[in-house]
């Protein structure tokens, strides 16, 4: 996808999110900076606890009660439907900073209406005691004044749009009468109810089986195309990334360590963590040999991290990696990574030869594996 600068829809700047856990303070996001462009799909990958979910939840003010935004900004365009553009021309009010939102009333017009979210497990994200129709209609009704008939018409339209057959009948049914894939479609319908600008999919296919995964992903892709959505995927499935993403952000220990287009990150990874992550793809394994795994474990986020968070697990780590946090080094206008290895003074480290096996991204797609 063409990424035109200036079409930024949301940008996080030096975002620091902390949590209070049993009297200790945990730093979940360590100064994350990331821009989101209109109409793109961005995949955020990283292991559990790397801050992927926390990052996106902070766009919606849905952090757990013990978490807070400590520093930084999340700039988001004001809603043109609500705010007067004459004001924005004076340059003051065009963007608002979500990080300064304190009261629930400030968040309500954003949640669901402008930024919507899909959660991992469709089996638990629907209220078992309310009909599908009510739950979808509720999402619409919250942001639109409408009559019952209008609400119903919208629900039917949404259900048809996400590919549910016989919506007239389905509308009166309860979640337990739906299969997992169907429920995820319903959750997607809820997210789409108010035509949001940004759709955040928090591991949308993890809880589904492979054939349903493919259906849900193609549904999401179609919706993105038809409604000019900006989609953020959170996933640890690199197959999903290859399938849907324009750009990839790799997160490690609460920071984006590498950011680039899908092709750049897969074919020319620069951060040692990204390289290690790609090396651990089972598709790269050779029959009879043990699969690659990253030695060590992620750092403790309760303590302050010095230098590069990945240094301790990196065989090619430089001295500087343990002392000072690396800045972003640009590899191309769209590709940057946070590692001292990209510094002109750093010794050249050749990428592992196995990575050359990732020749064709399409082979990675959807667990097809890399065929020899």
């Amino acid at each position: 996808m063409e990424i035109a600068p200036g079409q930024r829809i949301l940008s996080a700047e030096n975002l620091v999110v902390k949590f209070n856990l049993r009297g200790q303070t945990l730093t979940a996001l360590r100064s994350v900076t990331l821009d989101l462009y209109k109409g793109e799909s961005l995949a955020i990958v990283g292991e559990s606890g790397s801050g992927k979910s926390v990052f996106t939840k902070s766009f919606l003010g849905l952090l757990d009660n013990n978490g807070w935004i400590d520093q930084g900004h999340i700039y988001f365009d004001r809603d043109p439907a609500v705010h007067d553009y004459a004001e924005s021309n004076r340059g003051v009010l065009y963007r608002m900073d979500l990080a300064t939102f304190k009261r629930e009333s400030e968040w309500l017009p954003v949640r669901g209406k402008r930024i919507a979210m899909i959660f991992q497990d469709p089996m638990t994200s629907l209220n078992p005691l309310r009909t599908i129709g009510k739950q979808i209609g509720e999402a619409y009704k919250l942001h639109h004044k409408c009559t019952a008939a209008e609400e119903k018409r919208r629900v039917l339209e949404l259900l048809a749009d996400v590919g549910i057959q016989d919506p007239e009948m389905r509308i009166k049914q309860y979640p337990h009468e739906f299969s997992g894939g169907m429920r995820q479609r319903v959750v997607i319908a809820i997210a789409m109810a108010c035509n949001p600008e940004i759709l955040i999919c928090d591991e949308p296919t993890t809880a589904l089986d492979v054939t349903i995964q493919a259906q849900i992903l193609s549904l999401l892709k179609r919706l993105q195309r038809e409604h000019q959505l900006t989609v953020v995927y959170i996933t640890h499935d690199l197959g999903v990334v290859a399938n849907v993403a324009d750009r990839v952000a790799v997160m490690y220990a609460g920071d984006v360590v590498e950011l680039g287009t899908c092709a750049e990150v897969f074919h020319d990874p620069r951060h040692p963590y990204t390289i290690a992550l790609l090396l651990s793809l089972p598709q790269l394994g050779v029959r009879g040999e043990e699969l690659y795994s990253i030695p060590g474990s992620p750092p403790n986020l309760f303590t302050e991290i010095r230098g590069d968070a990945f240094a301790a697990r990196n065989v090619n780590a430089l001295k500087a990696d343990f002392v000072e946090r690396p800045p972003y080094f640009a590899v191309s206008p769209t590709h940057k990574a946070r590692t001292w290895l990209l510094d002109p003074r750093a010794p050249k480290v050749a990428p592992p030869p196995q990575l050359r096996n990732i020749k064709n991204l399409s082979h990675l797609r959807l667990d097809g594996g890399i065929t020899k």
Binding site: L108, T124, S125, N127, P128
Partner: protein
């Protein structure tokens, strides 16, 4: 139910026969005793007795007559005269209990970890830790003194109804608040609550529309049983405030070996529990679409 009643019927027959003669036992000679027993039909083999009992019950709705407690008065009448009191007090207490207990639980869950939650927890702990007898007595003595309310129940004096009802409700409030809070907290951690919030709902709307109703479902099951069992009354509160209710009746009847009265009461109570459970399940079915009676269309 049939089994319970039959078993109790047989067990009562195993008790020594002396009980049937009451205090006059010593004064009677062997012949008179035999006569009494024959008259009561107690010398027939046990299965004849059991059959006769069931026949009377089913064909005539007859629960027999009291032998000792109030000799010759039909059991149904004795129970009816007492049940009215217990039912009245019990229902009033139950309503009070639900009206205070459930909202208390809801509020405690909403302000979890805050002052209100801690205050509620203290109350629950106190009620459970201090024996009923102690705080009932304190209430009777001090509260009635403070407001100049009568200490004992008097028919027609409206103020005298208040304290027993409050006493009856106190324990239930604690239990209800405890469970409601627990179910609410359980519900609040569910994914669909997060989704509801992500839709842009206010947190009070979420608690009201999603959390509360779902949390109430498990509470609903016990409701019919609770309503029905108000009939059985409370031994302690009724004796404390001298309310002529059902509370002590079963104990007295067993002690005095009033077989027919015991049977009648066991019949009533077991019918109540079975009915209560059934109603509870039906209530659940109304509240929770996932639950259907077997035999109907099976879902998924």
């Amino acid at each position: 139910m049939v089994i319970v009643i039959s078993v109790v019927f047989c067990l009562m027959r195993l008790l020594p026969v002396e009980g049937y003669f009451g205090s006059r036992s010593d004064a009677m000679n062997e012949k008179v005793k035999q006569q009494v027993l024959t008259q009561l039909g107690l010398l027939d083999p046990w299965y004849t007795q059991l059959l006769k009992f069931w026949k009377n019950l089913i064909l005539h709705g007859d629960m027999g007559k009291s032998i000792v407690y109030r000799t010759g008065v039909p059991n149904a009448e004795i129970i009816a005269s007492k049940a009215g009191y217990s039912l009245g007090f019990g229902l009033a207490a139950l309503i009070l209990q639900k009206l205070i207990g459930l909202p208390l639980g809801v509020l405690m869950a909403r302000f979890k970890g805050k002052f209100l939650d801690k205050l509620g927890s203290t109350y629950i702990l106190l009620i459970n830790a201090v024996p009923e007898a102690v705080y009932f007595l304190m209430i009777q003595l001090y509260v009635s003194d403070f407001f100049h309310w009568p200490m004992l129940h008097k028919a027609g004096n409206s103020m005298s109804y208040l304290l027993p009802v409050i006493c009856l409700a106190l324990g239930g409030i604690a239990t209800d608040a405890l469970w409601m809070r627990r179910y609410m907290v359980d519900e609040m951690n569910k994914d669909y609550i997060l989704l509801a919030r992500a839709k842009g709902m206010t947190s009070s709307a979420v608690s009201f529309k999603h959390v509360m109703r779902n949390a109430f479902v498990p509470m609903a099951q016990s409701l019919p049983t609770a309503i029905i069992f108000t009939i059985s009354g409370s031994l302690y509160v009724e004796s404390l405030f001298s309310i002529p209710g059902m509370g002590g009746l079963l104990v007295t009847a067993i002690q005095r070996q009033d077989n027919t009265l015991v049977q009648a009461m066991v019949l009533l109570f077991s019918a109540m529990s079975v009915g209560g459970l059934l109603l509870g399940d039906l209530t659940m079915m109304l509240c929770d679409p996932r639950i259907r009676l077997a035999g109907k269309k099976e879902s998924r």
